[in-house]
Amino acid sequence: MDKDSTDARIDRRTALQWISAASVAIPSLDLQPAVAQDTTAVGYGSDPDLLKIYQPGDLWPLTFSDSQRHHMSVLCDLIIPAEDSSPAASELGVHDFIDEWISSPYPGQKADRNLILKGLNHLELEEFFEKTPEEQFSICSEMAIAAKRNRREFPGSFFLRIRDLVSGGYFTTPEGMKDIGYRGNQAMPEWNGPPAEVLERLGLEPQ
């Protein structure tokens, strides 16, 4: 799979080696660069075209190898699985959003880049992605419990952050908005306040 990596993506084996080295040196959440950022990446500037529709990779090179991308999609769907009424995160390309996020040239995403690549590497070394879905769910549950106990300790810290980004990435898509129950963003001739059944539920008089 590594052979299929695009130029923009760092070779997986190299990345793994770098991260392994970093993981040994610094056992918990750290801000040291785990993988060198593409230093040619620049932001969109202070006057970008706001009307254009952007896709991950349009503005700066992405990071994931093909296998990392696949693994991230598996993780995405453990965090946001499909239901009858709504799709899974990977169906909406949330794993590519994660790649865009960790590849960002802005300082706000730097710590996430290190943590997420380190976490992904950790799961790969633990052969997480070779396990059954049930086993994967159970490992996620352990990380979720660890995260609630201590949000700074790896790998719970990683799971917390990737959960935040995957769920945020999901609920900011039209499908995710529909799933969470957002019904706005449509031009309306009038705004009449909440419907009668809502007022009734709250025991409020009509306006």
Binding site: G43, A147, D164, G181, Q207
Partner: protein
């Protein structure tokens, strides 16, 4: 007359205006409508909200789900160009790095200025807000009273288009009958807050915002605003007919391509350009106001930001409205033989008495709002309801331990999700771990829309601790000296913040809230927003009755230089518990009337 380059500028104008926002735009509109030849210098580029606002885009269509970055400091879709607290090449400094001692200075480098970047809340200052010294024994009085400004509030409201209701509230005045547009209906959370806060003696009433909830009356209003001026009436009527009413979707901060939300470009500059009396010069960074041998203002030296070349624009009168602190900086940098410390600064008061809203916020979850039947709660997107200050008597009697009132704005509803929408519910869930999987989706559906936030914005009185001055060492990329800020919230203001926190918690409690943290009653310094972060800063060239104690008179004319007018928030002697923009426009209108009279009579 159009948007021009420096080489196309006329040799002389009646008035040169620095800045195109609330104050500069208002001035440009009125002067041009009255037939005066006007040049507006704007440091940013032309921006057309009708073509450039990304109104319906969802965050997944933007880089990084539209989160704020150093390039777009209020989020990707915010209708701001080259703007922010930190702008490359345009530094400022703070004297102190201590907690909450730094001032954060937002600059808006685009046509229309900060009117592009605004929630549109438009409440009038009340009678008490002009008499802080007399009433509370702190800060400064204005040289004018509410009654002096009331007719101008009516005019600004009719021109801009403001929704709201006349509720007869103490110190939050009604408008004249027929001026306001109808307020939008309340959302579920706002109705619930109104019902429950009653028990605490707090009323929840419609806020006022500069948004058209119905189309303006283009047959009636122009005649009221421009009596005896048929050409102005025609231009205004035409512009009013180009503005559509709100379609109850999309955040005003994204800009409004249909002209329902007020901004200076759409409401002031568009009709003013059509008058043929206005030239607009973008990319023009003002460097100094020039004076003649008699100390009379003659023009403005500006730098074309695209090539760094310096030019001069001449006018019979000069208006500066570059935003309060940029105007202060321009006054400081306008040195001459007559004014070695800066124009208007003979008494050393330029830069003094900066104030901002004293702000804090608090939120909690309201179980009654869980799992409501799905419905669209966009409404007027943003604030629809507020709680005017309810303890004016106690405040004046000194019973509260602080001297400035505050308003509370509710932020409720099933808003468009953002990057944080999936991470907010762990504390509400009973599981052992953080939420993920089906349980996350279930809980997100249950709790989404049930979080109610309240934001407090309070009055701040002038003090000796908050001011700006020229940095002795630093210059910007064009070699123009930059500002250095001094900032400190007083104990009085911190007591106000503690009270804000307590009130917000009580209101939420009355609604049956679940809390994930206590209000910061004992530690208000943690809760108060940094100076400048509310982007309501005013002062630095305050108006007054006494030339020894103020920089301008009540018509915003610099005492030393009567043909120099400061038309933004720099003249405000305090910050009320109201947002400043509406008052900036009303004060600018009053100043414009005086300036027009003076120019016509030839008295300046």
């Amino acid at each position: 007359m159009p948007v021009i380059a420096p080489t196309e500028a006329k040799k002389n104008y009646d008035v040169v205006i620095v800045g195109s926002g609330a104050g500069g735009g208002q001035m440009a509109y009125l002067l041009a409508m009255e037939g005066l030849k006007v040049l507006v210098l704007e440091a940013g580029r032309m921006v057309d909200p009708a073509r450039e606002a990304a109104m319906f885009h969802t965050p997944n269509q933007a880089p990084l789900r539209a989160v704020a970055t150093p390039d777009k400091q209020y989020g990707f879709y915010d209708h701001s160009v080259a703007s922010g607290w930190e702008i490359p090449g345009e530094p400022y400094t703070n004297i102190s790095k201590e907690e909450k001692r730094e001032f954060f200075w937002w600059r808006q480098r685009m046509m229309g200025g900060r009117t592009n970047h605004w929630g549109r809340v438009s409440l009038r200052n009340g009678p008490y807000d002009f008499k802080t010294r007399t009433r509370q024994g702190v800060g400064l009085d204005w040289p004018i009273s509410y009654d002096d400004l009331a007719p101008y509030y009516d005019k600004v409201e009719m021109l801009a288009g403001i929704f709201g209701a006349n509720e007869g509230i103490e110190n939050s005045p009604d408008s004249s009958p027929g001026v306001l547009l109808p307020p939008p209906k309340f959302r579920a959370g706002e109705l619930l807050a109104r019902e429950k806060a009653k028990t605490l003696g707090i009323s929840v009433v419609p806020v006022h915002r500069a948004i058209l909830t119905k189309t303006q009356d283009a047959d009636r209003v122009p005649g009221k605003l421009h009596p005896g001026n048929p050409s102005a009436q025609r231009l205004l009527a035409e512009n009013m007919r180009m503005r559509a009413k709100c379609f109850f979707a999309t955040d005003c901060h994204r800009g409004c391509s249909i002209g329902a939300a007020f901004d200076s470009t759409t409401v002031f500059l568009r009709p003013a350009l059509k008058s043929g009396n206005l030239d607009i010069l973008p990319h023009a960074m003002a460097r100094k106001v020039t004076v003649d041998g008699n100390g009379r203002a003659t023009g403005v030296v500006y730098i074309d930001r695209r090539d760094g070349i310096e030019h001069h624009a001449s006018g019979r009168a000069i208006v500066i409205a570059a935003s309060s602190q940029e105007s202060v900086r321009l006054l400081f940098n306008s040195t001459s033989r007559q004014f070695p410390d800066g124009i208007g600064n003979t008494n050393g008061l330029v830069g003094k008495y900066i104030t901002d809203s004293v702000s804090s916020s608090f939120s909690a979850q309201i179980p009654a709002l869980e799992n409501l039947p799905l419905h669209n709660e966009d409404g007027a997107v943003g604030q629809q309801a507020y709680m005017p200050f309810w303890l004016n008597k106690e405040l004046q009697q000194g019973k509260l331990g602080f001297s400035g009132g505050y308003k509370l704005l509710t932020v409720s509803g099933r808003k468009m999700p953002n990057i944080n929408s999936g991470r907010s519910f762990d504390w509400l869930s009973d599981g052992d771990g953080i939420l993920f999987g089906r349980k996350l989706k279930e809980d997100a559906r249950r709790y989404y829309g049930s979080i109610l936030g309240i934001g407090a914005q309070g009055a701040m009185a002038a003090s000796d601790d908050c001011y700006s001055e020229l940095d002795p060492d630093q210059k910007d990329q064009w070699g123009i000296p930059t500002l250095r800020f001094h900032w400190k919230f007083s104990d009085d203001e911190l007591k106000q913040v503690a009270h804000q926190q307590e009130s917000m918690a009580s209101i939420l409690e009355s609604m049956g809230a679940r809390f994930n943290r206590p209000p910061a009653i004992d530690d208000p310094i943690k809760a108060v927003k940094e100076g400048g972060k509310t982007i309501h800063e005013v002062g630095g060239a305050i108006m007054g009755e006494d030339p020894a104690k103020s920089v301008t008179n009540q018509w915003c004319q610099v005492w030393d230089v009567p043909n120099l007018v400061v038309a933004d928030g720099a003249t405000f002697p305090n910050t009320a518990d109201k947002n400043p923009t509406l008052t900036i426009m009303a004060v600018a209108w009053r100043a414009a009337d005086r300036l027009i009279e003076n120019l016509k009579k030839g008295t300046i």
